[in-house]
């Protein structure tokens, strides 16, 4: 990628809100001729939004009902007062949860947030893949059905993907999504089959594999199969990804239950 410092400075000014509309449109004309910078711009905006979220963020675990309630309240100015009250409540709950010794129950995922964890087709598309593929459409339809509460239809769509594209990476995503729905239905044995398919088929360093191990471990805990749970959570921990730190807490608790308290994690 050949660098264009002038363009980089214009992008910086754009992100900082220093360009007027005409200047911004002129910048986009240049960006259309240098598409590699569109991707970098998007990455920088993503980073900024993460930082802004951190400033405003409520400590979160897998608390779907609280999150969705707060989200809907925050979207309406009329409910600002109510939202503040709920936020105080959530802060209080988290403070108290973290001030004592966490139990295995409190560390285990009880319900998987669908909107955050179900995989849909990627929004950021490469130029080599400009049109949505049929399997991506199915994945998106499944996502929509699940978010709309039509879990049976979502499962049917994920099974269709698995049947039609068994050897494609999208089948792994479908297995993961299917497993998540099964987990939330408390069909834990079925969820284990799905998550096992995820970890055996996903690429070694992939986020999907890490997620598969994490949810597989949590499913085993729900079935009180702690040895199997520890093995799966340990794999998630070893991947050194986003579940690494959370996995340490869970592993320590599992080790204590299994009489392996001398294990060290970092």
């Amino acid at each position: 990628m050949e660098r264009d410092i002038t363009l980089e400075k214009k992008i910086d000014a754009y992100i900082k809100g220093h360009l007027n509309e005409d200047e911004a449109l002129q910048l986009w004309e240049e960006l259309l001729e240098h598409p590699e910078y569109i991707e970098l711009l998007n990455t920088e905006l993503g980073l900024r939004s993460i930082l802004y979220q951190k400033e405003e963020k409520v400590p979160e675990k897998e608390m779907k009902s609280q999150e969705s309630l707060i989200h809907s309240l925050q979207n309406s100015w009329k409910w600002v007062g109510a939202a503040a009250a709920i936020l105080i409540l959530v802060f209080s709950i988290n403070f108290f949860q973290e001030s004592g010794t966490p139990s295995l129950q409190s560390l285990t995922v009880q319900n998987i947030n669908l909107s955050e964890n179900l995989i849909s087709a990627s929004v950021l598309r490469s130029e080599r893949q400009p049109q949505i593929a049929p399997e991506d459409s199915l994945l998106n339809l499944g996502y929509k059905a699940a978010i709309d509460g039509n879990l049976a239809e979502a499962t049917r769509l994920y099974e269709a993907i698995i049947a039609r594209y068994p050897d494609k990476p999208i089948a792994v995503q479908a297995y993961l999504n299917k497993g998540i729905i099964q987990f939330n239905r408390e069909a834990f044995e079925e969820a284990i089959t799905s998550f096992q398919a995820v970890v055996s088929k996903a690429k070694p360093e992939s986020f999907t594999k890490e997620k598969g191990y994490w949810f597989l471990g949590n499913t085993y805990i729900n079935l009180n199969r702690l040895d199997a749970a520890r093995a799966a959570i340990l794999e998630a921990y070893k991947m050194n990804g986003i579940y690494h730190d959370t996995a340490i807490d869970l592993l320590k608790e599992l080790d204590e239950k299994l009489g392996k308290a001398d294990q060290k994690y970092e």
């Binding site: 900082k16 259309l32 905006l45 929004v123 950021l124 049109q131 990476p169 690429k203 360093e205």
Partner: protein, 180 residues
């Protein structure tokens, strides 16, 4: 990419080249619509597609006075189509207001929640000094690059280079992790 190639391909009815060029241009227009116009991805896809159909028709009918201005024309079509669509939907009175330049916080990224989580993870993988650098840059949007250079004891030129490399590295990390 030279957009005048698109004009040539359309005028000579070179279907293969037209398809190749359209495939390359479409995601760029979608990027413009999602990031600058704050369109959702489905709307962006539809509008970009319509804009490309329109430009092909305009070029075929020889109505484009200055072929070199294809990009400007495409952006203009996308912007106007999006605003018209918003007015038609009349979702809220706010979207019907004239489009105005956006503040940084209003600029939308095309990344969804999960993708942001991956990006946050990638950020954590950076060496401490680089993480601090990029964090400082992002946390202080009004800082002049000279101040950043002074704070990190590097030249202004190196400040821009470091920033570019870090964003590129984060983008590569995110792209790698988001793939299966």
């Amino acid at each position: 990419m030279d957009y005048s190639d698109l004009v040539t391909a359309i005028k000579t009815n070179d279907t293969k080249s037209i398809n190749t060029l359209i495939k390359a241009i479409r995601p760029r227009l979608e990027g413009f619509l999602c990031i600058h116009m704050n369109a959702n991805y489905n709307d962006a896809q539809d509008i970009a597609q319509d804009a490309l159909v329109t430009i092909i028709q305009v070029i075929r009918e020889d109505q484009l006075n200055e072929p070199k201005r294809v990009v400007e024309y495409l952006i203009s079509i996308c912007k106007n189509s999006y605003l018209k669509e918003q007015q038609r939907k009349q979702v809220t009175s706010v979207v019907a207001e004239p489009h105005s330049p956006k503040e940084p916080r209003q600029l939308q990224s095309m990344l969804d929640k999960e993708q942001k989580r991956l990006l946050a993870w990638c950020m954590q993988q950076l060496k401490k000094e680089f993480r601090e650098f990029i964090q400082y840059w992002l946390d202080h949007p009004d800082s002049h690059s000279r101040e950043v250079a002074r704070r990190f004891d590097i030249s202004i030129s190196n400040t821009w280079t470091r920033k570019h490399r870090l964003i590129k590295k984060l983008n590569e990390c995110y792209q790698k992790k988001s793939k299966l």
